[in-house]
Symmetry: C2
């Protein structure tokens, strides 16, 4: 019996709805565990999460799904169905290529490795973690082989996070970024100008930080009727559906920067998810298209907006209303320079906006070589420290502040790190294009960011996952990935601050 | 191929786990919508709820479920499996007896009727609601016929909420309660003693009410590592799993009684769910056994503990720390009498603890007669008002404060109301038994309720749904349902307060 395309499409969309329903429930459970759930809830909740994840996974790899893919791939003329089928097929292919037994073993390894890593990090003991990391690398090499690639084996992993971006693409841009920023860092360190971050010290009650953060989110155009702000340990934004996108943050009462820049960063992620076309609801397209494009949105707001001089020209008074008295007589210029101090540091997530990409280069180069078989896991600590010294100018004193600092590898996430630097480059390139349409500084200075939000929605948000990352970049900026934008932005900004 | 019982049991428990996982996810979504979710979330969330409810329902009525019921009913020797099978079978039988088409029509009617009722209530316009109520009654009569009953058609509906309790059981006890309380009410109204509730007026900031409520929950033995307290419009307690049982409350800044007694009431429900034996996790037995037994737990704490003189002897000082200054010189006795004022009122949920059961009698008698075909829907308003006048002594002035006040019938819930009065009787009967083991007033006066909580856990909580309501009552109290306990409790208490 031949089914009509209409009927098939309808059934396929129903299947997607089932799948996205599981994902929405899982998303809410994730949010709840990290913000509200009582301590002891986690044990049973984990089993529920496991059960629903499995249901969702089984759907992706079901014969029913395969049937829809085969039947609709060529025959559907609905662009949303066609693009969803493309996503479903990618997912299906990746999943079925891994033998069940291997996948099972890998999942157990991941969970074990993460707890081993946690302890190893605490003790700075790389050797404890090494055998697990070796197995994780081996699995990933094997999986990459199953999935296939054209040139570099690492491409198969990159594709999980940044579809269409390959080693060739990265190797054309990353070394330029790395060398330019290393050069910039040198100039900064030689400059006699030294911002003084000690002026930022003080006691910032949570309630004040929250009030200021809420006000800024509101101004960014974050819709509180479709979202909320809560406290957590490791901040994140999460889109449960296009009308329920939540932001979380962390308050450090000694340092307002954690919450303020953190909230704005997550707010950028949230704006992306809130402004996806609702026509994409209940399909795999109703979310950001890649890790990198997502990061471009968060970094756009965090760095290009909230760390700018224009932003603080407008918001410094508002900030002072929520800050200790010591800020009353602190000149704006001193404040602005202090929040933009550049200072090499060991820990990626504590890095300033100039050295941050250098931390990413260390990771990218190492994991590419690891997966490519050019280096061995056992040599990582030494290689990590060498690269840190070469690019960032400091040498970690132990593995806790070196190779063991990030959780990603313990979960088997290879190919993820590059998206942080890519996102930054995307953001800089978008910023360049936006400047052609909008007097960005003027808008920021006026404190009504509607124009910026609308520009991003029109060019990025609305599409959800309808377009691939590099297609978005091409459509928005008219050019391919171009590292000059980021380098120019940082050069302009920091040559003023550090006067060179 | 004959499967071993072990294997079957294992597979059956896995199916139950899938089902309880859906229910846990649905429970969290319910809690979230009523406490945290942003306004616009509801539209898409409703579709997710619909999808997961359907999955859960389909499991209950699946061939797989039927297979386990048939295979394990006689063969399993595991008491938890046997009792779960009994529950699964009840559920299966009830569901499959209703033709799909009728069920679908009924669900649509329910949803429509509820919104019609809401408007009708606002306008006090019974005639607008009447045709819907007629259809709802007809459906329920039809369903009762499908499900079957031995004596009274209403028994089939009662069984949904209070398994084992029939019209015969209720008609033996409810008239006694009704007549005794009506008599008591008369004496109270004739008494020259008049508690003065105006002394309770004042401004009670939310934060103070919350602090006091948290303190009381803690003393009751509510485990905050397995729960939390949030604000909502229509308070409830919800058990997501035995380690995650949440309480919600509502703060009226002009009247502390709403939050204080409301929190303690929901806390009583929560203690039940928190203290179910964890061996029952992921089965249909890991929840309270009936609406009535559940209500016995909430009312035990709300009335028998928190409205007692002993309770306030201990907690009045703590309360005053969170109350306006006017309470500083308010004598305990005046306060105690004021919170226990008896005053006929139109609205059930605003009723005091003595007139409350009379409101239930009105509903029970009417719905029994409706389902039994002795009265017609169109005559309800008049009959309602007559009964209110007869039992409570006041005649509603319009249908909004009369027959239209409660949501239950608009959702097709017939047979539910009796559990409120049953719960109260259960609580009184348990209180009687507890007195034989424990000097309850002394314990309450000491402010450490551990002994009370442990008594309830030992006799009620731990069993979850392993025992039926009347079996619990028999095991706990050694007698069958006995209305004297409630009547005696109320007579003793109010003859002191009103001095007759």
């Amino acid at each position: 019996m031949v089914q009509t395309v209409d009927k098939l499409e309808q059934e396929y969309l129903e299947l997607l709805k089932e799948q996205t329903s599981y994902n929405e429930a899982l998303g809410l459970m994730f949010w709840d565990l990290r913000t509200k759930a009582p301590k002891k809830a986690v044990e049973y909740r984990s089993e529920v999460i496991g059960m629903l994840s499995q249901k969702s996974h089984k759907l992706s790899t079901s014969d029913k799904m395969k049937h829809f893919i085969d039947e609709l791939k060529e025959r559907s003329e609905d662009p949303i169905v066609r693009k969803s089928i493309e996503k479903s097929e990618e997912h299906y292919d990746r999943a079925v290529k891994i033998p069940d037994e291997e996948y099972k073993e890998y999942v157990m390894l991941q969970s074990k490795a993460e707890s081993v890593w946690e302890e190893a990090k605490e003790d700075g003991d790389f050797e404890a973690f090494q055998p697990y990391l070796e197995k994780l690398v081996d699995f990933n090499k094997k999986f990459a082989g199953y999935w296939g690639y054209e040139k570099h084996i690492y491409d198969a992993l990159l594709d999980n996070y940044e579809p269409g971006v390959t080693v060739d693409v990265l190797d054309e841009v990353f070394p330029k970024v790395r060398d330019s920023l290393s050069g910039l860092l040198e100039k900064i360190q030689q400059s006699p100008t030294k911002p003084d971050p000690s002026v930022l010290q003080g006691h910032f009650p949570k309630a004040d930080q929250r009030a200021f953060s809420l006000e800024i989110l509101e101004r960014m155009g974050y819709d509180f009727q479709s979202g909320r702000l809560d406290e957590t340990v490791h901040p994140f934004a999460i889109g449960l559906n296009v009308n329920d996108v939540r932001v979380t943050t962390k308050y450090d009462e000694k340092d307002f920067r954690t919450a303020v820049f953190g909230t704005i960063h997550e707010g950028g992620h949230a704006l992306y998810e809130q402004n996806i076309d609702s026509k994409l609801a209940f399909t795999p397209l109703a979310t950001g298209t890649s890790m990198g494009i997502h990061e471009s949105q968060s970094l756009f707001w965090e760095n290009f907006v909230a760390r700018s001089e224009a932003f603080w020209e407008n918001h410094y008074d508002l900030f002072k209303n929520h800050a200790p008295k010591s800020f009353e007589n602190l000149p704006l210029d001193t404040f602005y320079k202090a929040i933009n101090e550049v200072k090499p540091s060991y820990i990626r997530i504590e890095a300033d906006e100039l050295t941050y990409p250098l931390h990413i280069m260390v990771r990218y180069e190492l994991e590419k070589a690891l997966i490519g078989g050019e280096i061995q896991v056992k040599d990582l600590p030494e290689l990590w420290n060498d690269k840190m010294e070469e690019y960032v100018g400091i040498r970690p004193r132990n593995n806790a502040e070196g190779v063991l600092q990030d959780v990603h590898w313990s979960g088997g996430s290879f190919g993820y790190f590059p998206s942080y630097a890519l996102g930054y480059m995307y953001a800089a390139q978008m910023y360049g294009s936006m400047l052609q349409d909008v007097d960005v500084d003027k808008v920021i200075r006026a404190g009504d960011f509607t124009v910026i939000k609308e520009w991003l929605t029109k060019n990025v948000h609305q599409y959800g996952s309808m377009k691939k990352p590099l297609d978005i970049m091409h459509d928005v900026t008219g050019e391919k990935l171009n590292p000059d934008h980021l380098v120019n932005y940082l050069t302009n900004k920091y040559s003023k601050i550090y006067q060179f």
